[in-house]
């Protein structure tokens, strides 16, 4: 039970490190650690499929893409544009206000009973696959088109225009 609170603390800590670190490369690495703690959260919820997908897609693909672009653009601490301290302070205050508002509204909820996995097999691949390919077949196919469009768009955007250059 206390595992959750420990991992939650780690997630919040590394998320804060992500946004407050000056060096963008360190920022990406902290974000990778944050996503790793999220994978642990998924395992704790027994959502094994999502844990694996989070591990492979987020940590493996998306974060490497971020790191790759950072390296490609050769960004480091010296080129990092910074906002003035006043704007930073106001931003933090605004975020705190958001947390306080949300937490205040949650007090209106009656105290929920703890999560008890009624059906522990819910997050396994077989069960999810059955739902995905029966109930959600059309959105699944559409998402494949979305990924294809994104790929074509990304290649087209990042390609050098030979006429201009």
């Amino acid at each position: 039970m206390s595992v959750f609170y420990f991992v939650a603390f780690l997630s919040v800590f590394f998320a804060l490190m992500t946004i407050f670190t000056k060096n963008p490369v360190h920022s990406v690495l902290y974000l990778v650690i944050t996503f790793f703690t999220f994978t642990v959260h998924y395992i704790l919820l027994n959502a094994q499929f999502l844990a694996v997908v989070n591990f492979i897609v987020y940590m493996g693909a998306i974060m490497v893409l971020f790191l790759f672009v950072l390296m490609l653009l050769n960004l480091n601490k010296d080129t990092e544009p910074l906002k003035s301290n006043l704007v930073k302070f106001m931003g933090v205050i605004a975020g705190m206000c958001l947390v306080v508002t949300l937490a205040g509204s949650f007090r209106a909820l009656e105290s929920s009973e703890s999560i008890i996995l009624k059906d522990p097999d819910i997050g396994l691949v077989g069960n999810l696959g059955r739902v995905l390919f029966s109930e959600f077949l059309l959105p699944f196919e559409i998402s494949s088109i979305l990924l294809l469009t994104a790929m074509v768009g990304a290649v087209l955007l990042a390609k050098n225009d030979p006429k201009k250059a």
Partner: protein
């Protein structure tokens, strides 16, 4: 696996909601206080992930697998978003030689 399931007994759903809102708020703060476009996109990823975790928690709470399927779709969407967004950033960097968000105010009509 049994021990993991045993571990989960006894965490109120409210704590999950609170934890995910804190992570979401950290993402919002990141968008507000940074000027580097790439860091802003990373903060957006943080927000997406907090929502993912909350959907999974609700799904486990109510015993309905639809929530986890939605998380799967959100991950596919995030991958597409990151690919296009980073391509745009590379393009902007090529034209303005900076990743400063303020360099984009020339988009103003």
């Amino acid at each position: 696996m049994e021990t993991i399931v045993q571990n989960m007994q006894g965490i109120p759903l409210n704590h999950y909601i609170l934890f995910c809102s804190v992570i979401f708020a950290i993402g919002v703060i990141g968008v507000l206080i940074r000027r580097n476009v790439i860091i802003i996109m990373m903060s957006i990823e943080l927000m997406l992930n907090s929502v993912n975790l909350l959907l999974t928690a609700f799904s486990a709470y109510s015993g309905d697998p639809s929530g986890q399927v939605f998380v799967f779709f959100i991950m596919a969407l995030a991958a597409a978003e990151v690919a296009v967004g980073l391509a745009i950033i590379v393009m902007v960097y090529r034209n303005t030689r900076s990743v400063d968000i303020n360099a984009l105010n020339r988009l103003r009509g």
